[in-house]
């Protein structure tokens, strides 16, 4: 009887160790840009860090839409599950090089500038190549101006977060 109890307890201990090992071994990767690491499982809580896409995480705990994670640099906190994948994100092949730098720089703005588009101003936003194409094809100024206005609109992270919050989407859902 006593021996049975010892075996039972040992098996229980092994199961506990095994399951703890499985949890600690569970890996995940940040799958979105600028994913916020939060102090608690709540979008309104303090952002303790912004994690780059591809950051490897150890999943410590899950709570509905949130995961408690730890990075290799020992940053610990909660992340919205939609920002996490079970495998490393594929690297896009944009080949952006230095040419994209200016464009991405514009994205850091915090306001959507659609309101500021002025249809009376000159066509200045199209690339020299697109302007040349328009010239070669006799594309009217109306179409060029239309495109210019489209690519003049910039959206920043703060705009998107505000928009998600207003719509109660993702990490801002009830």
């Amino acid at each position: 009887m006593r021996r049975d109890i010892i075996i039972f307890l040992l098996m229980g201990l092994l199961c506990t160790l095994f399951s703890a090992g499985a949890v600690s071994a569970e890996k995940a990767w940040v799958a979105a840009d600028g994913a916020a690491l939060k102090a608690s499982a709540d979008a309104g809580s303090q952002t303790t860090a912004e994690l780059a896409k591809g950051t490897e995480l150890s999943v410590l705990e899950s709570d509905k839409k949130w995961l408690r994670v730890k990075t290799a640099q020992d940053q610990e906190g909660w992340i919205y599950r939609g920002k996490v994948g079970s495998s490393p994100p594929q690297q896009s092949e944009s080949g952006s090089g230095s040419s994209i730098g200016g464009l991405l720089g514009d994205l850091s703005g915090s306001s959507v500038q659609a309101d500021s588009a002025d249809t009376s101003r000159s066509i200045r936003g199209l690339s020299p190549e697109a302007k040349e194409y328009a010239k070669q094809t006799g594309t009217s100024a109306d179409y060029q101006r239309a495109l210019d206005e489209v690519i003049d609109v910039k959206v920043g992270k703060a705009d998107i977060d505000r928009f998600l919050k207003q719509g109660k989407i993702g990490e801002y859902a009830d």
């Binding site: 840009d33 944009s94 080949g95 952006s96 991405l104 690339s127 070669q136 495109l147 998107i160």
Partner: protein
């Protein structure tokens, strides 16, 4: 740059020095190359695992070079890709009309689009969205991230999750560079690695315009390869789900289009440029099994309807 370098790397003299036996060995991998270059290279490993055959090694080098040639149109730098996208967008306005004159609605669509794009495969480029005055049910993506949505399709939707999934589908096309893949054999890319104003003139300029014409054929009339559409369907649903939108919104859009297909003008619309709806609906419905909590996710109907009423 990419195309010409790859061709220069394999001088003709090398191909002439391969024996008949080597050429025979090459036939299998070359045939496979058309379908799957990686598989072709695997076959070389089987034929000559230790790399002792000089003929086979030469043949392998050629196959590797050819594979690079076929893939290289998608390796354009972003600036060049965007120049193609801008040129195609100009043609898009000619074909589908000018933007809807409502800055608030344009801003709304831009926000929905960028919200899902943040969770896309390709997040290191900016995305632009425009609602155009068109009575055709359509949406398409220009290389580089300029995405068009027709007013007809927008007005036929019922909530924001439907809009989000359609825009996510188009973002997926940009992420996977589907349009560029479809024109990778265009003559313009032979000898051109980067697009500048210099190669927009003269004979190169004509080739560029021909390439844009080819893109119009693909995106406005014939449609992309069906597998690309299915890939974008599933990728877009996943992207919307990650954002927090109900991914079944996409199935609802497809079902709505199916009910309207009979009386709709098909030329230049989603009906003519996308795979048959029943097959797509079936595939997307199957995918929803991956999202057991879909019904708890956001549809944001009220906000959507408020903006839709302005168009």
């Amino acid at each position: 740059m990419l195309l010409i370098q790859n061709r220069q790397a394999q001088p003709e003299t090398e191909t002439r020095s391969i024996s008949r036996r080597g050429l025979l060995h090459m036939l299998g991998p070359l045939a496979l190359l058309l379908a799957d270059p990686a598989l072709a290279l695997d076959l070389f490993k089987v034929l000559d695992p230790e790399g002792k055959s000089k003929d086979l090694q030469k043949a392998k080098q050629i196959v590797q070079g050819a594979g690079s040639i076929m893939a290289s149109a998608t390796d354009l730098d972003y600036k060049s890709e965007f120049a193609i996208g801008e040129s195609l967008a100009l043609e898009g306005f000619k074909r589908y009309g000018l933007p809807v004159k409502n800055k608030e609605v344009q801003k709304y669509i831009t926000l929905v689009g960028n919200t899902v794009a943040r969770n896309a495969l390709r997040t290191d480029i900016p995305y632009y969205f425009v609602l155009v005055n068109s009575s055709l049910y359509n949406a398409f993506a220009c290389p580089g991230g300029i995405i068009f949505l027709s007013a007809a399709l927008f007005k036929a939707m019922n909530d924001e999750s439907e809009l989000a999934t359609v825009l996510a589908h188009e973002v997926a096309h940009v992420s996977h560079k589907h349009a560029l893949q479809s024109i990778r054999r265009a003559k313009f890319f032979e000898g051109v690695g980067q697009i500048t104003t210099a190669n927009m003139k003269g004979a190169d300029g004509q080739k560029f315009r021909n390439m844009i014409g080819g893109l119009q054929d693909v995106l406005f009339d014939q449609g992309l390869d069906q597998n690309m559409e299915f890939e974008a369907d599933l990728s877009g649903m996943e992207c919307a789900y990650r954002t927090g939108y109900d991914p079944t919104g996409f199935v609802r859009v497809l079902e709505m289009l199916q009910t309207r297909q009979g009386g709709a003008d098909k030329k230049g619309s989603w009906f003519s440029t996308h795979p048959p709806l029943p097959e797509r609906i079936q595939k997307c419905r199957s995918k929803t099994a991956d999202y057991p909590d879909a019904k708890t996710l956001a549809t944001v109907k009220e906000r959507f309807i408020a903006y839709r009423a302005q168009v």
